[in-house]
């Protein structure tokens, strides 16, 4: 955060994540323009701005509606848990109803101004002692009058008056397309100091909502687009990607992987706060590694949290039993929590928030996600990358061990998109590979990288039986396993190669 504010002070909005990307909230006693296309959640933001003020800061608010009637807003916003009606009766919320009244014929003759509207807004602000004002939306205001120049001048006058009354306000405006001018009617020219843009883009057949602070005059903010999601019962949650600061502590305490041989390959186990990526083709034993990782934790009385996106609870528990691990007992003893979810049930942003929430609530010592690749299916590439970065940094900050699995698209060799995105932020990468030898498939495991520690460089064969994973000897006379093209070498050839690299 940014404790020593610059010249312009800010009002903490309490909108989840927004205060981070805005370096502490909206510019105090100023008007901020919120511009976005239809359906970009502007009205929700406008409502939430007031609601969070009432709920968390005990600051009253005035809502000026040019579009929907107060009745509609009260009704539409109930699903977020905002009881506007109650706040109105408590004198914390006041509507100024400037919505169109189509049942009354209106004619214009001669000059007019919006002094009545301003008087009403001022009256409402005084009535509830408002600190926050939302105006929604400018487009609907313009469409009620034919004289655009007057409306424009009057909006300027209203924002000026609001500043003098020491209220912090937002005003929403429509954009016709995602990449065009800031807003219709050229409103940015007169509400120019602070501009925020909401986007709702169709990206690879998935809707992707983002928020971007375009400018805050005289004060700082985070740059660029940030994804956000709208959740029933909560409203807008901004996902501050670059809230990721590389300042997590680093521990040299080791924890077990749940498999003695694997611990040995890692020179004594995983570091307690490391992010581990297990990558392999389908059926190579990724879920098994996860199961053992959970089991190893539970045996040491750690709390383990497993997010499963590929298999149902029943399947997971049955498989675990097959490997000699009793998830049922672990859960009863409170050492394990399994969260099973179909990736398709919600958007990736919602998954992210759910995962974070579960981690916050359960406070685990180790977390596993099986698999990241399943989540890749439900999002665009960009959202997925953001998700991976966000979740890894979150887990790192909690200083728990996180193990993710990733499925490679090809059976032999190859890498997945998941790997490309997260390999640089993982501390440990374990590869599981099929090795074809003498007409049969065998399985190989190798520790590709391990930050801050020595590790075994061999590609070892492993077997799976009813007691779990058993890692054996290295494949000595095979090359090309990692590239998915295993070739056997004759002992003579091997010796010759070894001679070439001997240092003496």
């Amino acid at each position: 955060m940014n404790p020593k504010g610059p010249e312009v002070e800010k009002l903490i909005t309490n909108i989840n994540g927004f205060d981070w990307i805005s370096n502490g909230g909206l510019p105090l006693n100023r008007t901020t323009l919120i511009s976005g296309t239809a359906g970009s959640a502007k009205t929700i933001f406008a409502t939430q701005f007031l609601s969070e003020g009432i709920i968390k800061s005990n600051e009253s608010g005035v809502f000026v509606t040019f579009e929907e009637s107060p009745e509609e807003i009260r009704k539409n916003m109930r699903s977020f848990g905002w009881d506007i009606h109650k706040w109105e009766s408590e004198g914390k919320w006041c509507f100024v109803d400037a919505s169109p009244q189509p049942e009354i014929d209106t004619l214009e003759t001669g000059v007019y101004d919006m002094a009545a509207l301003l008087a009403r807004i001022e009256f409402a602000i005084q009535k509830v002692g408002a600190v926050r004002v939302s105006m929604d939306s400018l487009g609907a205001f313009f469409s009620q009058f034919s004289d655009r120049a007057t409306v424009r001048k009057e909006i300027f006058r209203i924002t000026y008056a609001l500043k003098k009354m020491e209220v912090t306000s937002i005003i929403t405006a429509e954009r016709t397309d995602e990449l065009g001018s800031i807003a219709r009617f050229g409103v940015e020219e007169f509400v120019a100091d602070n501009v925020i843009i909401f986007r709702n883009i169709l990206d690879e057949e998935k809707r992707r909502r983002t928020i971007e602070i375009l400018k805050f005059r005289g004060t700082t903010h985070q740059k660029g687009e940030f994804p956000f999601t709208v959740i029933p019962g909560e409203g807008i949650i901004v996902i501050p990607l670059s809230a990721i600061e590389l300042k997590q502590r680093s521990s040299d305490i080791r924890v077990t992987s749940g498999c003695t041989e694997l611990d040995e390959m890692c020179n004594g186990g995983f570091y307690r706060d490391s992010i581990i990526l297990v990558s392999g083709a389908t059926g190579t034993g990724k879920t098994l590694i996860v199961t053992q990782f959970m089991n190893g934790g539970a045996e040491k009385n750690e709390r383990c949290l497993l997010f499963a996106f590929e298999e149902s609870r029943e399947q997971l528990f049955r498989n675990a039993t097959g490997w000699g691990v009793d998830f049922d007992t672990m859960e009863k003893e409170g050492k394990l929590k399994v969260v099973c979810e179909y990736p398709e049930t919600m958007s990736l942003e919602d998954h992210l928030i759910n995962i974070k929430k579960a981690i916050d609530e359960y406070k685990p010592n180790r977390v596993a996600i099986d698999s990241l690749s399943a989540l890749e299916r439900v999002s665009s590439l960009r959202s997925f990358r953001e998700f991976v970065i966000s979740i890894t940094s979150f887990i790192k900050h909690k200083e728990v061990a996180g193990l993710f699995t990733s499925t490679t698209p090809t059976l032999l060799g190859g890498t997945s998109i998941t790997e490309t995105h997260i390999s640089t932020i993982t501390d440990l990468i374990i590869l599981l590979r099929y090795v074809e030898l003498y007409g049969e498939t065998r399985r190989g495991i190798t520790v590709l990288k391990m930050r801050g520690s020595m590790h075994d460089k061999d590609i070892r064969e492993f077997q799976i039986d009813s007691t779990g994973i058993h890692i054996g000897k290295p494949f000595r006379n095979v090359v090309g396993i990692l590239t998915g093209n295993p070739v056997q070498l004759s002992p003579v050839e091997m010796q010759r190669t070894a001679e070439m690299f001997r240092n003496d």
Binding site: D105, T109, R120
Partner: protein, 101 residues
């Protein structure tokens, strides 16, 4: 002729307000022959009334009676238009191409 009930919303004693009041008085005296009741409401003094009536722009003239309810915003400088809004035709009726009954 039925009696007219008119409300004129203004904001403060500005020149725009004065103009609207005078324009309306003239039109009423000339066209309605005293068959009207006119109320001037200053929004600055009675903001709640403006809230109830959902007034945005001033001056706003509301014709409450006879029905239909009608609003005319502006300083009422265009007499013909005001008459139209009050559902009154200017002196000569027939030759007009357009205009409601």
């Amino acid at each position: 002729m039925s009696k007219f009930a008119l409300k004129l919303y203004i904001t403060g004693k500005t020149s725009k307000s004065e103009r609207a009041i005078n324009n309306l008085k003239n039109i009423c005296d000339e066209e309605l022959g005293g068959q009207y009741e006119m109320k001037v409401i200053d929004v600055l003094e009675r903001p709640q009334l403006a809230e109830d009536e959902k007034i945005l722009a001033t001056p706003t003239l509301i014709k409450e009676l006879p029905p239909p309810l009608r609003r005319i915003i502006g300083d009422l400088s265009d007499k013909e238009k005001v008459l139209l809004g009050l559902d009154l035709q200017p002196y000569i009726k027939p030759p007009q191409k357009k205009g409601g009954e």
